[in-house]
Symmetry: C2
Subunit: 475 residues, 2 copies
Amino acid sequence: MEKQNKKITSRDVDFAKWYTDIVSSAKLADYSSVKGCITIEPNGYAIWEKMQQILDKEFKKLGHVNCQMPLLIPESLLKKETDLVEGFAPEVAWVTSGGQKELEERLCIRPTSETLFCDYYKNHVKSYRDLPKLYNQWCNVLRWEHETRPFLRSREFLWQEGHTIHATDEEARREVNEMMDVYYRFHHDILAIPSIKGIKTEKEKFSGAVYTLTNEALMYNGIALQAGTSHYFGQKFSQAYDVKFTNKDNKEEYVYQTSWGTTTRMIGELIMVHSDDYGLVLPPRIAPRQVVIIPIGNSCDVHALARKINDLLSSNDITSYIDDSEKSPGFKFAEAEVNGIPIRIEIGTRDLLENKITFVRRDTREKIVESVDINIEKYVKELLDKIQIDMYNKALERRNKLTFVAHNLSDIENILNTQPGFIHAMWCGDVSCENKIKDIKGCKSRCIIDESPIDDKCVCCGKKAKHHVVWAIQY
Amino acid sequence: MEKQNKKITSRDVDFAKWYTDIVSSAKLADYSSVKGCITIEPNGYAIWEKMQQILDKEFKKLGHVNCQMPLLIPESLLKKETDLVEGFAPEVAWVTSGGQKELEERLCIRPTSETLFCDYYKNHVKSYRDLPKLYNQWCNVLRWEHETRPFLRSREFLWQEGHTIHATDEEARREVNEMMDVYYRFHHDILAIPSIKGIKTEKEKFSGAVYTLTNEALMYNGIALQAGTSHYFGQKFSQAYDVKFTNKDNKEEYVYQTSWGTTTRMIGELIMVHSDDYGLVLPPRIAPRQVVIIPIGNSCDVHALARKINDLLSSNDITSYIDDSEKSPGFKFAEAEVNGIPIRIEIGTRDLLENKITFVRRDTREKIVESVDINIEKYVKELLDKIQIDMYNKALERRNKLTFVAHNLSDIENILNTQPGFIHAMWCGDVSCENKIKDIKGCKSRCIIDESPIDDKCVCCGKKAKHHVVWAIQY
């Protein structure tokens, strides 16, 4: 028999240890023999599959098609766009031999695929009639990170990278916004995470981008996580890679380009926003299994009812399963809890004699005893919706509690010394101020947001403020 | 406007050229900047997505769960199983630097993941109660091939690799069979390819396997293609990687292991079995888009009917779309044809006045004029089924036509000089005979099949025959 879950460190005692305890107790991922690379275990991969299904449908609804570029990029190709290569050169892995021979040119494992898409576009676009091209790919990428942490930062990770090219600047900018909205809505509606969105500062934008939009979430401990970015490249890459088209006026022009991505890091994000000291807590809309039915004892009536409820729920698009393994009920309860199954239904012999069954919410751990005669399918649907909304509101409450306003540098310092979180403060736009703020415990600008100003003056230098910025320590 | 499809070389004139013409005309894949690696374009990737959906459902029905192992394998880990490393060493790519530093140990890009799974199993299996473990992963792998061809043989390819471990030899062998049956049924029922299955000879089995089952298809030109293998490892790997469990008798034992895989090469297989000189031909059950509706002219009635039919088909699980682009009808017809859309529906103003619409089958190119008053949804469903069956029968007829029996070496030679195909011949089991047959134009044993003997004697040496073998030249 698999052994009982090991004790999970308390979230309020040691957040980092609590996080890795959840990852291993809920069997989401394991360390591998390759430093900095993880094995995504079935429980973790099932969450990624559900993320893929939901996002892929959204992408396709907006006209995107999937494709697959090579894993490897020749060094000469990578080097054509200087900003990108400077941004990524320190963190790529190089293949130098293949088939027992030294390669003439070394190949890097893709850290991202802008260069490969540009190389492809070049041969497939001639006229404005060929535009837009709306591509996406689901794949693995490699970045040679030094400090790694399961899901949040690992050398290899899985992601989707959207790449599009357009005939006009306006249309491309619209795409950048639209895809950021997809990520933002996905966070709010599906992951129950009240993220914020905005534009990155020059310093924090993606290497090679004209600008970067970002979706930023706040973890339970007040540290921020970037989860989803959408970049506008204008004609920077298309000039470097010579991707031209004939426009409506019959003139040659470089295409306008975007890219946008989300990664398996969102699994880590889900943990750090919603989970508790008993294990994983998953919002129903992203939970691969929404309901577990646990029959207690060997009575035929109990097992017949379990099957009946399971069939009923399954035929109504609720993913439920019966845990009829040999383990003890107590073990099963704990396992369902650590795995974050949103609703647990317990059916016991004695309860059944009294015509009762028990529902247990994972998020609040509340037990609710109901008559077996209720409309179970309707009841479960409504309870799943209620859990989804309650989880969002709880996360929102936490985020609001950890959102602060700073009027000067000592405000920032005080906040970060007491309880880190999202810090709203005005900024003049000068990178030297941004750097000074970063000197305070690594507090970085998350994004410039479109909200009314707090002050007239920059939080750092006191000169005229240009932007309302959210700052935080980041993962 | 995109230019009209370039002329496709005739299949009977130059099969290899015809093949690459189909790949490029139907926009399935393109060459990339990395030698031997392709870009899978949206039309090709959509076929792979459909293959994934169908196979993944089958795997999950049988209790398998998906996971994701790392891309990289440390050299020391790879070397633990000597047969495997000898089999793959000549064709792996090595990562030797990461993050601007030489690595202490070089890492190979996975050519297959048995070693990684073993490394994982070791820490996750203790008792027979933890077994079986039924894993699968969808990923990319790299093999440094020298002669490459889009889909059929490329340095990087996409595949699924199933990996399972079991408490008993019997159960593991059953798994090997069951998964081969999944591949075989997938070929017959979905790809409309009348493949054969059997066991590989010692010489042709997978490096490190106890035995290998294989699914073998015959291409239009009489060359064989291996498409789907299922391996039994017994305890070979579990001994090398020390994967033990406590069995029911409370004794330590090594686990019994299997692996099985299919790849994007099946896209090439589909082309080489079904397509013709006009482009791709796809069996309806694997076609990402089953019906295209082409309105001719600008009449409102025509466009209203197109939309009505499209809605009707879409709401009945038929994937249809309207081509209402600016291109000419002739161009649209040709494009639908080269892309292999199984049914084309043409709606013209004049026809509509006579209450008629035209259906065109891609497989036979037959035009069928029908009244608009027929039950279109039922009609299309039945026609798709008919195309599926007809395509299977046509492929079966071709396979039978290209299936021969040989009683001696000169029979084999004559067959291969006239028209290659599947050659049934008896074999004594001796590798020297197998080698002699291979000397005839590279004719290899495809598999030992479970059919009654043709002769008493080996086709090569004349000694007592042990096996009924199918031989062929292979891709």
